[in-house]
């Protein structure tokens, strides 16, 4: 990982230019450099202004208005949404999300056909992709374009389209200021490090990643367990094609990418996986889906198998209301409609309802070695809460 001071993100040209990576030029790099710098500025320089404004004027006015303390993050949000500082900060932040999408779309769409051809060749040689054109895209994906990504993960623009995957791959390094690494794989690396520390004897023979997107998290896990058979599923064909081609380009050959929903794992036998995980996936599902997914996971997980789910921390009673409010920004302003509800949901509760005993459950903090000092860019840092369970014998 490129080392930089916490105030300066690494320049975008450090991103790993694997064989599947879209062609781009000098000014494209400069545009991403601007986005990364602007994001850093908004979180590290201006971000604290939100809390200052809250403490100094919004909260006192709210206390006067309510004649009591605010009782929920929703009350805080309604008040903050009237505050001029929070409004211009939010407006600027929303724009960086939209700009980031436009930049990568302006690079990827003109070469959509060429990328599709390149991917098809890599996939044919690797034989690592299984699509299901009959698969119904779930309503929680179809009804909103997550994080302002026009067309979301699943929209097909050309034959054998990979543009949604290419678009995703290009932007992550800028959005996260490089914190996710040159291959956007820090979540997977963090899981591997955590497993080595906590369960050094754990040698899973079969691993399932649900909601794999472009396979950025699964690749370091597959590389760490080269003997394992790894299956990565997603509902969206364009990101899966890109994932399969990208894995082939990076020389990882023990992952099979399969178009399937986490809500229907019927193609897999009972107790057939030693490890099933999701990474920043559950917040893009729904209340009913999460219960179904957890039930499916419990069924396919072998005894002593590991179920692990990386997310941002849940909003517990111990978390200050202001922190809940600011962590909730993406739910209301960056097209993450389930984000708010998920963080009110007990992931452990869902896991327990699926069959795990209370004593099977744990929560761990997993973080990448590249986590920088300084104010947190909520939801974009390379640190997660891992909600996990080991299935009893």
């Amino acid at each position: 990982m490129t080392k930089t001071s916490s105030s300066l993100p690494p320049a975008w040209h450090h991103v790993e230019q694997h064989d599947m990576f879209p062609e781009h030029d000098h000014d494209d790099v400069a545009r991403f450099n601007f986005i990364a710098s602007m994001n850093k500025y908004l979180s590290q320089t201006l971000g604290a202004g939100n809390e200052l404004s809250y403490e100094k004027r919004v909260l006192p006015a709210l206390q006067k208005e309510l004649r009591r303390e605010p009782r929920s993050r929703h009350e805080i949000r309604e008040a903050m949404n009237r505050d001029p500082y929070h409004r211009i900060w939010s407006a600027a932040k929303r724009n960086t999300m939209e700009q980031r999408q436009q930049i990568s779309r302006s690079i990827v769409l003109p070469q959509a056909d060429a990328l599709a051809e390149k991917a098809a060749d890599l996939i044919e040689a690797a034989g690592n992709l299984e699509l299901d054109p009959a698969l119904e895209i779930p309503p929680y994906i179809k009804s909103v374009d997550h994080h302002c990504m026009p067309g979301s993960y699943h929209t097909e623009l050309v034959d054998d389209d990979v543009s949604a995957g290419a678009n995703y791959d290009m932007g992550m390094f800028a959005t996260t200021g490089g914190a996710m690494g040159k291959l956007t794989d820090m979540a997977g690396c963090a899981v591997v490090d955590w497993l080595r520390d906590e369960y050094p004897n754990f040698k899973p023979k079969r691993i399932l990643d649900i909601g794999c997107t472009i396979g950025h998290t699964v690749l370091p896990i597959a590389a760490a367990f080269p003997e394992a058979e790894v299956i990565a599923i997603d509902v969206a064909a364009p990101v899966l094609r890109y994932a399969a081609a990208r894995a082939a380009a990076l020389g990882i050959n023990n992952v099979r990418f399969v178009q399937a929903s986490g809500e229907d794992l019927s193609r897999f036998d009972d107790e057939s996986f030693d490890m099933v995980y999701t990474s920043m996936f559950l917040h893009e599902t729904s209340n009913s889906a999460i219960s179904i997914i957890m039930n499916q996971i419990y069924r396919v997980l072998a005894p002593s198998g590991l179920s692990l789910h990386l997310e941002q921390p849940s909003y517990t009673d111990e978390m200050p209301l202001y922190e809940q409010f600011i962590r909730d920004w993406d739910a209301h302003n960056n097209n993450e409609p389930f984000w708010s509800r998920l963080h009110d949901t007990s992931i452990h509760g869902e896991m327990q309802a699926s069959g795990f005993a209370a004593s099977d459950l744990f929560v761990a903090k997993v973080a990448s070695a590249s986590v920088t000092e300084g104010p947190e860019d909520h939801g974009r840092g390379a640190a997660w809460h891992a909600y996990g369970a080991i299935k009893g014998e």
């Binding site: 929303r94 769409l109 003109p110 623009l157 097209n335």
Partner: protein, 121 residues
């Protein structure tokens, strides 16, 4: 052909866009300002690259820069760059136009159609 996808570069993301500022006009002005800042940053980075490369080669003269005239290829590349810059800066208004395009047309019965009789009257 991938070029046919050019019109999708400025596509809206599906989902309600919050209004942060007092008016739509303010939202547009902020979006344009931020895009302009982006493109200014890009231009500065390009100039910096140019100056460093030329300086390293030791062959830059001010006179050469002043008297430069693009050939036909360079001219069309520059004009295309102009178009892209404008499309980038004007994105938010273009997106509002897309929204207008998607807006259902009002029912004919809701329109006040001026009849010939009324015009005469």
């Amino acid at each position: 052909m991938s070029e046919e996808l050019n019109h999708l570069v400025n596509k809206n993301a599906q989902g309600r866009r919050p209004q942060f500022l007092n008016t739509k006009t303010e939202e547009h002005l902020l979006s344009m300002t931020m895009a302009l800042m982006q493109e200014l940053a890009v231009t500065r980075e390009r100039l910096d690259t140019l100056e460093r490369v030329l300086e390293a080669k030791g062959n830059l003269t001010t006179e050469e820069l002043k008297s430069y005239r693009p050939d036909e290829t360079a001219e069309s590349e520059r004009q295309e760059a102009q178009r892209r810059l404008i499309a980038t800066v004007m994105r938010s208004i273009e997106q509002e136009k897309h929204a207008l395009e998607d807006l259902a047309a009002p029912e004919v019965s809701q329109l006040h159609v001026v009849s010939d009789d009324e015009k005469v009257a």
